[in-house]
């Protein structure tokens, strides 16, 4: 990680921020929520707090702008530069600016939040079925007032759930009209307008009057972008007009005709050949949450990192289940210290479950559940008397297909993570995974491919169902000879798994089956407060578990130990 020269940082922890204006691409509530989550990324791992204020000077002033927007560092139209921010300090220092020539989304395409209707502000669901036809955009069919609407479930015909889409006929943003809708036609500068206009403005934002005469009443608001608003081109924010004529042909959808870069565009009048008005059609856009979290890192004092997976790496890449990289955590904690998470203490005899205080589940990252293939064959229980609760410790513990597996001397037990159906087994490991030795050291299931990796001393096996690749030496993964065995594994998303041994860990790229450069690293660089030579390390329900003998330490994704207890009584729930 890097900080700015002189370790520029805030001299107080309780920071304020203010959103000066909003992009018309997203509903205001969606933007506010994204910024709030972006600040929480940093407050979760430091003592910092962030409070939104709505007037006056905040520590971090946030604004959207295009091209030259007042600070001498102009943006550059669509794509390219997305945003920038200034290091901590007074005035413009600490502020964050976002390029409004970009198409701001949550990273996966257009977000159309509805208002009114009966869907409580839910987002549109595209495509949806209305009167037997499928629509992938807001429509005015079925209405006489011309207000665009959409269904918020796949079928309006079936569910009757709907809401109204952003439209200047429904409301305006900002200005001085408290959200009143546009009135068309309206008079401005002596001319009559029957749609939103950028006339009279240099910042390119579309506006309208909210009375019939702006010259007289001076009442106005900014027009929200419709779902078919174009980006860039020469009519930013105007909706596509379908059908439109281009080179004599009629087009009823966006097209890449006429371009070499394959980008989709449309005309914003019915005839491009005569009017030459156009813009790009909405694409996946850029996640305002991810870009804001990065820029707020600058606002707090972090400079760009050269770690590709770090949030502070300068280039944008969309990540679905975002998690701060250890590099980011080290950087921000170097400037502001750690959060106020509980300090680990040695376990005392376990009280009964009821009296144990539940740790605060401060938000957990959700992992996307993918359909997991059924295990190929039901294992046959060996001898019910081989009771897991009689074991003092286990060779390896890991979650496979959503169930915790406890391995010991050629046998294993399962314990579903989500429901309380109790321990199953013991089963013969060799029945389910033929070819494995009796004693294994560690195991993990790859989130993406569902393959299961097993480690025993310096060897590893990769199972897809019952078919196996291996054993092979762990030197093939790039792990040095000094490592005698792997003691645990933590899945990290994006095809990465941390492998632990002794007081160090490596980051394995599961796809190429090679550990990344720059490893091993010391476990307590990041995982402070857990036993350094843990015997079993595994991920369960989004939390990291480090076991030593009878005890385990549980750590949140924000690297705070939030529980210490007994493997047998708390995880296995033995009596």
């Amino acid at each position: 990680f890097l900080t700015f020269e002189g370790d520029l940082k805030w001299d107080h922890m309780d920071l304020t921020y203010r959103v000066m204006n909003y992009s018309p691409d997203l509903d205001r509530a969606v933007i506010d929520d994204a910024f709030k989550r972006a600040f929480k990324v940093w407050s979760d791992v430091t003592p910092l707090t962030f409070t939104q204020i709505y007037s006056g000077e905040a520590d971090i002033m946030i604004m959207f702008g295009s091209g030259e927007h007042g600070d001498g560092y102009p943006f550059d139209g669509k794509d390219g530069l997305l945003a920038h921010a200034f290091p901590p300090g007074r005035g413009i220092q600490g502020d964050a600016h976002f390029d409004d020539d970009e198409f701001w989304t949550l990273g996966t395409g257009l977000v159309v939040k509805t208002r009114h209707g009966n869907a409580n502000g839910a987002d549109c669901h595209f495509p949806f079925i209305f009167e037997g036809r499928s629509y992938s955009r807001c429509i005015t069919e079925g209405r006489k007032d011309g207000l665009p609407w959409c269904a918020t479930t796949p079928s309006y015909d079936h569910d009757k759930k709907y809401g109204f889409c952003p439209s200047e006929l429904l409301y305006t943003d900002g200005g001085n009209s408290d959200g009143a809708p546009c009135v068309f036609p309206f008079v401005f500068d002596g001319s009559s307008y029957d749609s939103c206009t950028t006339d009279g403005r240099s910042d390119g934002y579309r506006w309208c009057a909210t009375t019939t005469n702006f010259d007289q009443d001076k009442k106005y608001g900014f027009c929200p972008n419709r779902d078919t608003a174009v980006i860039g081109g020469n009519s930013q924010g105007d909706p596509c007009v379908f059908p439109f004529t281009f080179l004599g042909q009629s087009y009823s959808a966006c097209t890449s005709q006429g371009r070499q870069d394959g980008k989709l565009w449309c005309a914003t009048t019915s005839n491009y050949d005569t009017d030459k008005k156009w813009g790009f059609c909405p694409d996946k856009g850029y996640s305002i949450f991810l870009v804001a979290a990065h820029e707020f890192g600058h606002s707090l004092g972090l400079d760009h990192s050269s770690v590709r997976e770090a949030l502070m790496y300068p280039m944008y890449s969309y990540v679905q289940d975002f998690q701060l990289d250890p590099d980011d955590v080290q950087g921000i904690q170097y400037l502001y210290g750690r959060g106020s998470g509980p300090a680990p203490t040695a376990p005392v005899p376990a009280p009964t479950e009821e009296s144990q205080p539940m740790p605060t589940e401060a938000g957990s990252t959700s992992t996307s559940e993918e359909e997991t293939p059924e295990p190929t064959a039901e294992p046959i229980p060996v001898d019910p008397s081989w009771d897991a609760c009689m074991e003092e410790s286990f060779d390896a513990i890991t979650e496979i297909n959503g169930e915790l597996h406890f391995f010991k001397d050629g046998k294993y037990w399962t314990h579903p993570s989500f429901w309380k159906s109790g321990i199953q087994g013991a089963f013969f490991t060799a029945d389910t995974w033929p070819g494995l030795p009796a004693v294994i050291d560690a195991a993990f299931q790859d989130v993406l491919t569902k393959r299961v990796f097993f480690f025993a001393s310096r060897q590893f096996w990769v199972f897809s169902g019952k078919s196996v690749l291996g054993p092979r030496g762990i030197e093939k993964l790039g792990i040095g000879k000094e490592v005698t065995r792997i003691t645990g594994a933590l899945q990290r998303g994006r095809g990465k798994v941390l492998l632990f041994s002794g007081e160090s860990y490596w980051r394995l790229d599961v796809k190429v089956q090679r550990v990344d450069k720059g490893y091993p690293r010391a476990t307590d660089d990041i995982f402070t407060g857990v036993p350094l030579d843990a015997r079993n390390v595994f991920l369960s329900q989004d939390k990291y578990h480090f076991c030593q003998g009878k005890f385990y330490w549980r750590m949140t994704p924000r690297y705070q130990v939030d529980r210490v207890g007994y493997v047998k009584y708390d995880i296995l729930q033995c009596p």
């Binding site: 700015f4 020269e5 560092y73 943006f75 794509d79 390219g80 530069l81 997305l82 945003a83 920038h84 921010a85 390029d99 970009e102 860039g232 081109g233 020469n234 080179l247 005709q257 006429g258 371009r259 070499q260 565009w265 030459k276 156009w278 850029y286 870009v291 990065h294 820029e295 600058h298 400079d303 760009h304 050269s306 770690v307 590709r308 790496y313 300068p314 280039m315 944008y316």
Partner: protein
């Protein structure tokens, strides 16, 4: 078989005609993000100073350090990104 109608390529109003050459893009990128300075770019051999700046950028962004304007470097230069310079200027 019939030849399909040749693809018309249109210059859309408001778009740069004939965007930058690769070299122009590189020089602008390296200057903007702090990998070189105006003075460095102007003094000495252009090729050497470009190579040095490229190598600095490739190292910072985790690219293969070739000192050359290769495809992955150009791709990186065209990628959407944050406007804060990478090197303190």
């Amino acid at each position: 078989p019939l030849q399909s109608k040749p693809q018309a390529v249109v210059t859309f109003p408001g778009e740069l005609v004939g965007a930058w050459s690769d070299l122009e893009l590189a020089e602008s990128y390296l200057l903007r993000f702090g990998y070189t300075t105006e003075v460095e770019a102007k003094t000495g051999s252009k090729h050497a100073s470009l190579g040095k700046a490229l190598r600095k950028m490739q190292k910072q962004l985790g690219l293969e350090e070739t000192g050359e304007l290769d495809a992955s470097t150009l791709e990186a230069m065209r990628a959407p990104r944050c406007g804060v310079p990478d090197q303190p200027s």
